[in-house]
Structure formats: structure tokens, C-alpha cells
Symmetry: C2
Subunit: 179 residues, 2 copies
DNA sequence: TCCTTCATGTAACTAGTTACATGATTAT
DNA sequence: ATAATCATGTAACTAGTTACATGAAGGA
């Protein structure tokens, strides 16, 4: 069975303890979603595939009539996860940002529209940083150092972006034609 | 007809002058590819769709027996592009980075593996920045200010990332347990 | 001669999103 | 009551990649 990054998001989420598909989604939405988003449409089929390959194991955790399945990593699953982490294969960062695309093509529109665009972008990154900061204490409290470092990276990155866009907006506003 | 960001990459590329599908791909690979990548499998069908909606217009530019079609923006195409740019709708940045994902799950692997991972990441971002810098003079030479600013943003961003990863690698190496 | 670049295109595939359906439990 | 959250799942769709085919032109 072929594992892709999405499989590892699932495996990695389970490395912190047994979880349901629903739990995995909740966790991913406040953590890995900033560098690898996943949806229910991927999670449930993936859990069954991983289960079939013996990398995770399903356990019934229904409460009364409400059915619920929690999965946990098997030894082989944990081993696969750690092997993947330790292999430093150079892979590409992929960024898709429609607003940055707009900025790239903004030479033909009025300057004030560009400034407004930059202000929205600035706010966007401030908000992403704020969202990350909200569950920073959670990450700090646990003994997961790298998890915490990645969170710090995300906060610093988005704040850096916000500042950059803010500076450019200010430069454009006080009218610069020459560089 | 519905236009998506990919359509605007095509439209935007043509806003700099008439181009073939092949030309669009070459241009996108050194510019927009850093925040919105596109492939031939999208370009050629897209050009026909845009042509059918009258946003671009095809012209035969064959040289001898070698056939070639160049497209140029129509007035409506240019208008659509500028309207899209001027509309500052808040859209999400999407990042997919397998290496950052590894870093997030790196608490269970030997520290030296994490340091190695960070060093590869650092190199990766240095290289992206260097690649961007290579065609920076090209962007500066033209009177496309925003195009140049976005290029500068990319260079600064990837250098910032390289530095951050480098610092973390250094911190980890001289053994830090407490923060 | 042979390799690279120019040039266009598509079929098959892989990945990912969205919308929907279902229904229990818990908090207001 | 009723809204929100927990919980699982899939079908249909949209997007994007990869691999391949074809072949001319130009340079080494």
C-alpha cells in the first residue's frame, strides 16, 4: 500500500493517542491544516485503508446506541510513521494564494485598489497568526517540542507576512513611483 | 463561463503581450508558479474555453509547416482581469508542505534526524530564493512595479524561512531541552 | 547525427472538495 | 424546543498531475 502525506497526517494524529475520524479532523483543523489540509472525504476511506494494511487498528467505542470507532496506531504503523519522518527527502512547498496572484497582476489597476488588497491580505495573516496563537498554550503544555516549534514557526511566518504587506501598503500610499 | 484562479493566470500572462500556450507555461514556471502553479493539461483546454467566451482571441502564428497559435487578450478579457484584481475578496492561502509536516511529527525520532531534516529545508528555501533572484533583474527592468514587488516578497519570504530553519537547527544541535 | 528546445495536445489518473444524508447527544 | 456538537459516511464533482504521442527547428 502506497502512503501519501495525507496518510501520514492520519497516522501522525493517531501517534498522540487513539482517536475517531471525527477527532482527527478536529485536531487537523487547528494544527496540520496550515500546511496540509484534509477533509472527511479523505479521512474515513484512509482509515479503512490503513486498517486493512495493519498500520492502524479499529476499536468500537460506541456509547449506547451512538456508534463510534476509535483507531490507534499499531507498532508497524508507528514504525512507518517514524521512518517517513526520518527520511529527509527533498519535496516541494506548494503555495496557492489567489490574493498574491492578484497582487502580481495589479499593475493595471488603480493604486488605491492595490492598497486595499494589501490591507485585506495584512488582516488575513494577522488573523491566521491570532488563530494559531490561541492554541499555542495547548502545544506548549505538552511535551511535544517540535509540535510547539512548528506552531511558533506558523505564528512568526504569518506575522512576518502581515508586516510585509503592511509596509508595502504604506509605501504605496505615500506615493512612491521610483524604487 | 466560470473563471477560476487558473483562468486568471492565463489571462494575466496574456496581459503582458500575446503568447502561445507554450510561452504561458514558460512564463508561469518562473513567476506565478510560486503561488499558483499550472500545467499544460490545464493551459490548452483553458485557452480554448477563454477563446470561446471571447476573453482571448487566437491568431495563427505558424512558421512554415510548424504550427503555432498565439493568443491575445480582448478588451473584455482585460476588463475581466482588472475587475478580478480590483475585487479584494478574502480568500485562503493554501500551503502544502510535506517536510513541514514531518517536522510537526518529529518528536518521536532521534534529534539528529530532525536536524538533518531542518538542514534540507533550509537549503530548499535558499534555493528557491536564489531561483527567484535569478530573474529579478528581468522583473526590475520592466515597468511592472507590482510584479517586481511580488518577486521581492518571494525572495524575502524564502530567505526568512531558510533563516528560521537554520536557527532552529542550530538551537537543537547545541542541545536545548528547555525553552 | 543527436540532443535540446519549441509546440500542441490528450487520456488516464490521483487528489481533494462539497454537498448531502443520517441520527444521537448535549447544552441553552 | 432547538441549536450546536458529535459522529460517520458517500456520491458527485472539480481540479490538477503525469505520462505519453507527435513532430519540426535549431544548435552542438
Amino acid at each position: 500500500m502506497e502512503l501519501n502525506p495525507t496518510s501520514y497526517v492520519v497516522l501522525g494524529s493517531l501517534s498522540f493517542g487513539p482517536r475517531s475520524g471525527y477527532d482527527i479532523k478536529q485536531l487537523a483543523d487547528i494544527s496540520t491544516r496550515h500546511f496540509w489540509a484534509i477533509s472527511y472525504g479523505q479521512i474515513y476511506p484512509e482509515l479503512r485503508r490503513l486498517s486493512a494494511s495493519g498500520l492502524v487498528s479499529a476499536e468500537d467505542a460506541s456509547r449506547g446506541t451512538r456508534h463510534r470507532t476509535v483507531y490507534h496506531l499499531t507498532d508497524r504503523g508507528r514504525q512507518m510513521l517514524n521512518e517517513w519522518v526520518s527520511e529527509p527527502a527533498l519535496t516541494k512547498v506548494e503555495i496557492r494564494d489567489e490574493m498574491l496572484l492578484k497582487l502580481f497582476f495589479a499593475d493595471a489597476v488603480p493604486r488605491k485598489d492595490t492598497v486595499r488588497l494589501l490591507e485585506v491580505m495584512r488582516r488575513r495573516h494577522r488573523e491566521i497568526a491570532a488563530g494559531l496563537r490561541e492554541n499555542e498554550p495547548m502545544a506548549a503544555a505538552q511535551q511535544h517540542e517540535m509540535k510547539y516549534e512548528v506552531m511558533r514557526f506558523g505564528i512568526a511566518l504569518h506575522e512576518w507576512c502581515a508586516d510585509w504587506y503592511g509596509k508595502l501598503a504604506a509605501d504605496l500610499e505615500r506615493g512612491r513611483g521610483a524604487r
